[in-house]
Assembly symmetry: C2
């Protein structure tokens, strides 16, 4: 790699492997690893790739499938199909990988030409790709492996989206948006939360051709709206909807590897209660002001603080918080109502990579800001979600209202009986 | 364990762990490991359990969740909730696991009381649970671990279903069956295969409350019907349906961990062509005869052979094969048209465990029979799918028709231009 970008070397990448459910032969539908998807767009499992430097020549390695594969899985595609379909310079079989990498490395300056591999900590999960998908079997004995240079470069390449990427993302967002509208039209009291999920998935798959979702559907109605990641196996969208519920639906499909992420909040009765309206307007106003303020050069943390400012202004007017606005902001009162970050980079992963890299602003240690998945300064080509929210979460309100809490003076006791309401949307 | 079933010891079991997509924080909806689901029905991830012998006293170990979990994932359920909900004798935290296991082992005859763990080869996948979900962290230093006795016993417990299990399985099969009907009503030329998948998933989720599918939907229309496991990431149900197509839809939902597995074949035009009818009738007749013949004491391989006999009889009448029926059966000609096994045990896994255990008939090495996922003698309480089929697969027909092939004398050359047709159904 090197500063000039003309160094010799070989970039070695491993695609996702087919996985099974525990010890069974149950295979979930394969989804390519995101870096591999970004670089090659390959949908098939168990591939590898190498990019030779400085030429940039790319070789895709595909598994050699036994002839009976054709009976079970369909026509075995020839290397030439892969070459043409994915636009790589050459296609070989995985069993030729070590020799090819060795040849590519050896043909430069034998003992000093490095093999660059992807290794670094994903700042959302804490995981390292080099541990999850080890590349040992692709590395010829005695090679020099550089596991430090590539990660930041590869992540940075995913941060700014190309025009084509933005077009695919617009499509995914459009499908999700239409699906949300259709759910909103169908939702009524008496239904179960998972039926809203079913309606959403159907629209995305049937009308949009989206087989994958960007994340598990969160269909949180009534009190469930106060659980940020509701919808998981322990709380599987199973509550029955009441006429008086607000629905908070956070759902987004994936199309051709690219994610969308949209949340809609609406009252099931079609009419906001006075309380619901206060909160809804606070969040909507936050979102509008943030969308107006976002531009290259603006630090993302400033947008998060703007959300707190707007929300607290509304809550203050409604008598749900009290005291001087600047003092409340100073005391971080916004965290009690919005414990999550304003939004995140989005792309091939819903929480896309590049949020925190060695050359970008560090993660804050202030509650709430700490949860921001990036503190970067906005640049043209970045795509971020804008998801302001306002929640009434017992686990936060109770300690905040307790004797001795620094938050206590700013809160009004009635705040605890508020229904859980929130509104969130996605934009780029 | 031991023959009398009164031995001392502790059975140590590990539940499924939350997994992530590669190095990202993308979490698919958690699905419990099947043995753990069978024994405890626990839906939550990252649990362990111990059963003390000979008393049978059960203890569930749940993860100790940090207080902020409540903000993101909802109310933290108390141990008493788990105790009551899952009917175990005691609930502790996972960080108390080693000590509890040590205590239970030590309280018997210290140096000789074994810890029994699940380890054995799943005969469908070739994988071993002890490798996939290692139990090392649950085993106190110096313990005697018995990794051989438990697997066969635990698998055998899953082979014969209780009345309650059968009831849940009937429900899952009923939901899948209704969903198939609804797909059949909606399917028409011009649609895409994935739209049939979307319709099926919608019905199962919206009307049946089934969030998981037992396996990836196979929506194989026209020539895709000849690909047994069509629908995977490399062939994602994306063909457009023609008026002249047969649809072969192999789809089944899961309900409360229990699988269903149903295949329907029908012509999109609502009218079989003469060719389509021949094949459809052959398969339907196979299925009827097999359902009539199935009873305790019958070897499953005999049912597979009955399928070949019935199918070849029909093909012979239609002039697609020629020669003496017994000679054809002897020459294994059925394999060319039905390369897969007749059906399989079904339960918490679609391909359920217990097909081949040390005390059951060995796997055949004859083509076709070799693919049977069990060669057991039928017993009351077993649930198996009955999925006869008849395919026209180039990868099998071409070599079978080639000069020198032992199959050649029985085949009629036109067989190769046959459309791919098949019919399969599920029963218990
Ligand atoms: Mn989001
Ligand atoms: Mn099956």
């Amino acid at each position: 790699m090197g500063a000039a970008g003309h160094a010799d070397g070989v970039i070695l990448l491993r695609g996702g492997a087919e996985v099974y459910r525990y010890d069974s032969d149950h295979e979930p539908v394969f989804r390519q690893e995101s870096y591999f998807a970004h670089l090659f767009g390959v949908k098939e499992p168990d591939c590898w790739a190498m990019i030779e430097l400085p030429s940039g020549r790319s070789t895709l390695f595909i598994p050699k499938l036994a002839p009976e594969y054709a009976i079970w899985m369909g026509e075995i595609k020839a290397p030439s199909w892969f070459e043409q379909h994915y636009g790589v310079d050459a296609v070989l079989f995985v069993n030729e990988l070590q020799a090819a990498v060795g040849g590519a490395v050896g043909s430069a300056t034998p003992s000093q030409t490095p093999i660059y591999i992807l290794s670094g900590t994903n700042s959302d999960s804490g995981l390292d790709l080099a541990t999850v998908l080890p590349i040992t079997e692709g590395v010829p004995a005695g090679s020099i492996v550089d596991s430090r240079s590539l990660y930041t470069v590869a992540a940075e390449c995913r941060v700014r989206k190309s025009t084509e990427e933005v077009e695919v993302m617009r499509y995914a967002a459009w499908v999700s948006s239409c699906a949300h509208s259709s759910v909103m039209r169908e939702a009524r009291a008496g239904m179960l939360e998972y039926q809203l999920e079913a309606l959403f998935l159907f629209h995305c798959a049937f009308h949009g051709g989206c087989r994958h979702q960007a994340y598990t559907c969160i269909c949180a109605c009534g009190p469930d709206g106060a659980v940020l990641h509701y919808g998981h196996a322990g709380a599987p969208n199973e509550r029955q909807l009441l006429e008086t519920d607000m629905a908070l639906l956070d759902m987004g499909c994936e199309y051709q590897f690219y994610a969308s992420d949209i949340t809609c909040s609406f009252p099931l009765s079609d009419e906001f209660s006075a309380d619901q309206r206060v909160v809804y307007e606070a969040v909507l106003d936050s979102q509008r002001q943030i969308l107006n303020a976002m531009r290259p050069g603006v630090p993302w943390s400033d947008m998060h603080r703007l959300m707190w400012r707007v929300t607290l202004t509304h809550l203050s007017k409604a008598g749900l918080v009290r005291g001087d606005l600047e003092a409340m902001l100073e005391a971080n009162v916004g965290y009690i109502f919005t414990p999550h970050g304003l939004g995140h980079l989005i792309g091939i992963d819903t929480h896309d990579v590049g949020g925190y890299l060695p050359h970008t602003p560090k993660r804050s240690d202030v509650n709430g800001l700490k949860r921001l998945r990036t503190a970067r300064v906005l640049e043209a080509g970045m795509v971020l979600t804008v998801e302001p929210g306002c929640y009434f979460i017992d686990a936060l309100l109770e300690p905040a209202l307790a004797e001795g809490s620094a938050y206590r003076q700013y809160l009004v006791p009635e705040v605890e009986v508020y229904d859980s309401l929130s509104s969130v949307q996605q934009d780029d």
